[in-house]
Amino acid sequence: MKRQIPLIISFVCGIFMLIQFFIPHPGFISVYRGILNWARIIGVFALIIGIGTLVRLHFRRITRRSPGWFYSVVVFAGLIVTASAGIIGGTRGKLFVWIFQNINIPLDATMFSLLAFFMASAAYRAFRARTLDATLLLIAAVIVMFGRVPIGDFLWQAVAPQSWVDKVPFLPEQVAEWVMSGPNMAARRGIMIGAALGAISTSLKIILGIERSHFASSSQ
């Protein structure tokens, strides 16, 4: 029963969602809207599970005095203070907005901006023209990096002969655009069509109960 009930629910919901698309009957629409509401309600539980996992993990690190346990205290402090500010003062409350604008945004932006440094270091060490494929990738990357910023056009207009500049004043940008809308798009379309076919096949397998890896264990 533990496996059969979820399998039946998956089958009924999957088939219903499939056929309701083609039957715009008020009864079907009403059930469909009900299912969408359920889906949103279930989505909220993902947040609760996330917070629960975060609390459990960091509580364990503090009680065991694991290396860096002090940072777990900071996590708890952040969680309690921010949640309290939002619940008591509201999401437009001064403290809540202040925390978001002066702590959350700078910290998050700092973490993300570090990527530029790591990427530059990794590109210097690993982006090598070892094979023909790697060389093509390298050339495409340089063209796009050069064309996707105004300095590409600026240098082109400063260095190239005037007659060429008059004909194509924004050549680097246009070449980068061609790389994106030509070779890049062709490759992307192939990948996307493959992924979509895979998603359809997996969805059908889940609806029909052939694919069961989303249960606790495939061996059960």
């Binding site: 698309f21 629409i29 469909y32 809207r33 969408l36 509401n37 889906a39 949103r40 279930i42 989505g43 909220v44 993902a46 947040l47 509201g90 999401t91 437009r92 907005v97 978001f100 604008q101 959350n104 945004i105 910290l107 998050d108 932006a109 973490m111 993300f112 901006s113 530029a116 440094f117 990427m119 530059a120 270091s121 590109a123 210097y124 060490r125 982006f127 090598r128 023209a129 390298l138 990357a141 340089v142 990096m145 050069f146 996707r148 910023v149 105004p150 300095i151 590409g152 056009d153 600026f154 207009q157 924004f170 940008e173 655009e177 994106m180 809308s181 890049n184 798009m185 992307r188 379309r189």
Partner: protein, 278 residues
């Protein structure tokens, strides 16, 4: 140790220093560079420009604070354009961490162009499970959003009186850093025929080109460059335009490092082959 060996094993901190200098110098010594407006960005601008006054635009602020430097200036430029065209704006987010971002951006826009909340714009806030939310808007916007960000019933908001679902919305603009553009296309575009424009981070641009060329997106504003292009179109000197210099120099520095790395690699390989022959 030879020069090539030293360059091959260079301390990564020197590379960090090069990038830091490349990013900082343009802020200390600013200079002007021409910004070319690409067709995907112009398409978004033209579409909004062609909308009649009072049309409804749904703006999704679907990005976290980490991508704010790219997407926040873009949000402001797009919102400024919408309010200059006197369009009604519905703001919302599918990211819990973006709830305050959308609210702040709309308030900033409202201050600059005298827009009144609940009359000219409404902010609905955050809802989880974006597939269900997008599909829900297609049936009745009050299903996923029974109240706005400040818990006021949506059905009682004057601006929302005649807005029920996608049929009443002229354009969805997704300003996102994740997979929300694809979801809008699948759930709002394909199912309800909704027109969609996307503003995304630089790294997402290549992945959205197939949708753009297939006509599933009316236009695409990509990264800080796209934001700068949009600022140029709406005649705004915002943070994207100012940030273009730093991004230009950083790109140049990375191109230089990649080329240097390859030159050094080829020299060392040539030397190694020579040694083997000897």
């Amino acid at each position: 140790m030879s020069l090539t060996e030293r360059l091959l094993n260079i301390d990564r901190r020197y590379i960090y220093l090069v990038i830091a200098v490349a990013v900082l110098v343009p802020f200390i010594l600013p200079f002007h560079m021409p910004v070319y407006v690409s067709q995907p960005v112009r398409s978004v601008y033209d579409f909004i420009e062609a909308l009649p006054e009072g049309s409804v635009v749904l703006v999704g602020f679907n990005y976290s604070p980490s991508t704010m430097p790219e997407l926040y200036p873009m949000s402001l430029a797009v919102l400024k354009h919408c309010c200059s065209r006197k369009l009604k704006i519905i703001g919302m987010t599918l990211y819990s961490s973006a709830a305050t971002i959308g609210d702040t951006a709309l308030k900033e826009m409202a201050e600059s162009c005298s827009y009144q909340e609940l009359q000219d714009y409404v902010y609905l806030g955050y809802k989880p499970n974006f597939e269900a939310t997008m599909l829900g808007i297609g049936e009745d916007i009050a299903d996923p959003f029974p109240t706005d960000y400040m818990n006021r019933p949506v059905t009682e908001i004057s601006m929302m009186k005649n807005i029920k679902n996608y049929r009443d919305i002229a354009l969805v603009i997704d300003l996102g850093s994740g997979n929300t553009p694809e979801a809008w296309i699948a759930y709002a575009g394909s199912r309800y025929g909704q027109k969609i424009a996307s503003g995304c981070t630089g790294v997402m641009v290549s992945g959205l080109y197939p949708y753009l060329k297939a006509g599933q997106l009316v236009g695409l504003i990509g990264g800080l460059k796209g934001a700068a292009e949009y600022e140029k179109l709406v005649k705004l000197t915002g943070k994207a335009t100012l940030g273009m210099n730093a991004q230009s120099m950083a790109h140049l520095a990375i191109i230089f490092l990649v080329l240097l790395g390859n030159v050094v690699y080829l020299i060392s390989r040539h030397k190694a082959r020579k040694k083997v022959k000897v």
